[in-house]
């Protein structure tokens, strides 16, 4: 029982990182209907910027903020360069462009910093462990959970309490109608990329600390899994992405904890296919009727 709870808790902190990436994915997908394959790599860039910050002696929060701001602008730039012209023409071409952008970020980073695995300097976080009713909790877990909760609450505030958020919801509901109402669709899309990429950068720093390893290809798998989490929860829905991320993280921890670590990566996909077969729109997705 304690073992189970321990694994569930480990899954909760891993899942909250997935959730953070998935939220960005789902926002971007919801608004431009494009799988932004470069999202995981924006996360990787975020981890490196944060690493640079901590090496220069900055603390956790300043590094996090710098990484988020840098990646937010990177996200806007990616949309401007690789997606803006292609999006209206062909979705598949946009997807090719996204794949190209993902490879470009990975290998440009590898060219400049090398392929070796790096770690955050030890001063950033002195590890402490707490024992709470038999479950071992590290301050790393608490930091990850805390950061995620703060960021998601802030995101919910932006989406549901500001004019920008209203515009984002409108564009994602119906881009053309939103444009007719005087919303600047392109700006709104840029803002979505700005916010989504900032969240990815935060996730990058957290996942770099969680696994204590940073390398240029670290964004690939978590990026893919975060997309699965987003689809699982119902793409386009922010609470759905949270739920999907945490479910996925917990399942993975359980599978890994009970001896199936070889199958850890496959389990994510099996869950995805099963959920899609039963509920094609995901757990919290809205069912859309096709009009003829």
């Amino acid at each position: 029982m304690e073992e189970l709870l321990q694994q569930l808790f480990n899954g909760l902190s891993l899942g909250s990182i997935y959730a953070l990436i998935a939220v960005g994915y789902t926002m971007i997908y919801g608004i431009v209907k494009l799988i932004n394959f470069a999202h995981g790599d924006v996360m990787m860039v975020g981890a490196y910027v944060a690493l640079a910050g901590t090496i220069m002696g900055l603390g956790f929060i300043p590094s996090l903020v710098i990484a988020m701001i840098a990646c937010a602008f990177l996200g806007v730039l990616i949309e401007l360069v690789a997606y803006r012209r292609v999006r209206p023409v062909s979705r598949l071409a946009a997807l090719t462009s996204a794949i190209g952008m993902s490879l470009f970020l990975e290998y440009t980073m590898m060219y400049f910093v090398g392929a070796e695995i790096r770690t955050f300097p030890p001063g950033v976080l002195t590890e402490r462990t707490y024992n709470w009713a038999g479950i071992i909790i590290t301050n790393k877990d608490l930091l990850v959970l805390g950061t995620t909760v703060v960021l998601v609450v802030f995101l919910q505030f932006i989406i549901y309490r500001t004019r920008t958020g209203k515009a984002m919801r409108a564009v994602s509901y119906d881009g053309q109608a939103a444009q007719l109402m005087g919303i600047n669709v392109n700006n709104t899309i840029s803002i979505t990329f700005f916010i989504g990429s900032a969240l990815a950068a935060a996730a990058g720093m957290l996942i770099g600390m969680y696994y204590n390893s940073i390398n240029p290809l670290m964004g690939m798998m978590p990026g893919l899994k975060a997309f699965i989490a987003a689809v699982l929860g119902g793409i386009g829905s922010v609470p759905g992405a949270m739920l999907g991320g945490i479910l996925l993280g917990m399942t993975e921890s359980l599978v890994a904890g009970f001896g199936g670590s070889m199958y850890r990566d496959a389990v994510a996909f099996i869950i995805l296919i099963l959920v899609l077969l039963v509920r094609p729109t995901g757990l919290l997705g809205k069912d859309t009727q096709e009009k003829v």
């Binding site: 598949l92 462009s97 190209g100 893919l224 699965i228 994510a268 995805l272």
Partner: protein, 321 residues
């Protein structure tokens, strides 16, 4: 009415291509480095054309091609290496195994649309990879080693011609036209009495079987196959060939496969910048030519005449198709 190239002309052209490469190989004029790349081009043409059948002709969006290729490669490898049976049987079994995998994956997932199908098939590819890594009979993570190297130029050539002919004839058949109809508008196609699930699965299974063929060839050329080679980056590579050539154009897939394989062969000499340039080219081609080099056109008499007309300064024929 689309006019095809005269059959005699095509046969002569194909035979000439075959003979030139054959002579080049046997006289040692083509170095072993380029020999590998020529074989790779052949395998890539099969992969790109079969993915185009699913993604371009039928309009589904599959990202599981590396998975089907892996199924074919490992099934074929087991036949020749573990059981010691002839290569021809390996091709048949590899294709059947991949087709079966296509059927098993296709039946449930083809109810999904667009990006959901993409991510489900991508998941299938990853599952295949992980499962292969955990089956000791096919070597686990180390894969199969010492598969007999029986693939030569005639086998590659015949396989490529077989693939192209099969897909081309499929497109021109009534089944193929049904697939084209459901690409254009599946609701309308369904109302015209086309069983859309049947045709989606059919195209999917044929595409998977051909990917399996490519897998068998790959396994019997390189003699070593590891599950980790068949990851989603391989699928992306194939997708890029299809996209660069032109989605829905068979000739485009051939052009795309040749271009991408040759480009990556040339970029081998600068390994550290290779992927950066490759990625930049990819973005540029998507941004500046989103419909691919050939769009959805095929090389036919009319298109050649049009190009001839452009060269001569006149307008040529009005329409390519």
């Amino acid at each position: 009415m689309k006019k095809n190239l005269p059959i005699v002309f095509v046969c002569v052209l194909l035979f000439a291509l075959f003979a030139v490469v054959q002579v080049g190989l046997s006289s040692g004029f083509i170095s072993s480095y380029w020999e590998t790349n020529i074989y790779l081009i052949g395998i890539n043409i099969i992969l790109a054309a079969s993915l185009n059948l699913i993604n371009g002709i039928t309009g589904e969006f599959s990202l599981g091609h590396a998975g089907f290729m892996a199924v074919g490669a490992f099934a074929g490898g087991v036949i020749t290496l573990n059981l010691g049976l002839p290569f021809l049987l390996a091709i048949v079994v590899g294709m059947l195994a991949a087709a079966l995998a296509g059927l098993l994956v296709g039946l449930p997932t083809l109810r999904l649309r667009g990006d959901y199908l993409a991510i489900a098939t991508l998941g299938f590819g990853e599952i295949v990879r992980v499962v292969m890594m955990n089956i000791d009979y096919v070597g686990g993570a180390a894969g199969l080693m010492g598969i007999p190297a029986v693939v030569n130029w005639p086998i590659i050539f015949i396989s490529v011609v077989f693939t192209i002919l099969l897909i081309r004839n499929f497109i021109c058949s009534s089944h193929g036209r049904s697939c084209l109809a459901l690409r254009e508008n599946d609701t309308a196609a369904q109302m015209m009495g086309i069983n859309i699930t049947y045709y989606k699965v059919m195209a999917f299974v044929i595409g998977a079987a051909l990917a399996g063929l490519a897998g068998v060839l790959y396994a019997h050329y390189y003699t070593i196959i590891q599950p980790k080679e068949f990851n989603f980056l391989l699928t992306f590579d194939i997708l890029v060939m299809v996209m660069v050539g032109g989605l829905g154009s068979l000739t485009g897939s051939v052009v795309g496969a040749v271009l991408i394989t040759v480009a990556s062969a040339f970029l081998q000499s600068i390994p550290e910048l290779r992927m950066v340039i490759y990625a930049a080219l990819l973005i540029a081609s998507a941004v500046f030519r989103p419909q691919g080099l050939l769009g959805a056109k095929e090389v036919s008499m009319n298109l050649l005449r049009k190009w001839g007309g452009v060269l001569n300064g006149s307008d040529g024929s009005k329409q390519a198709q």
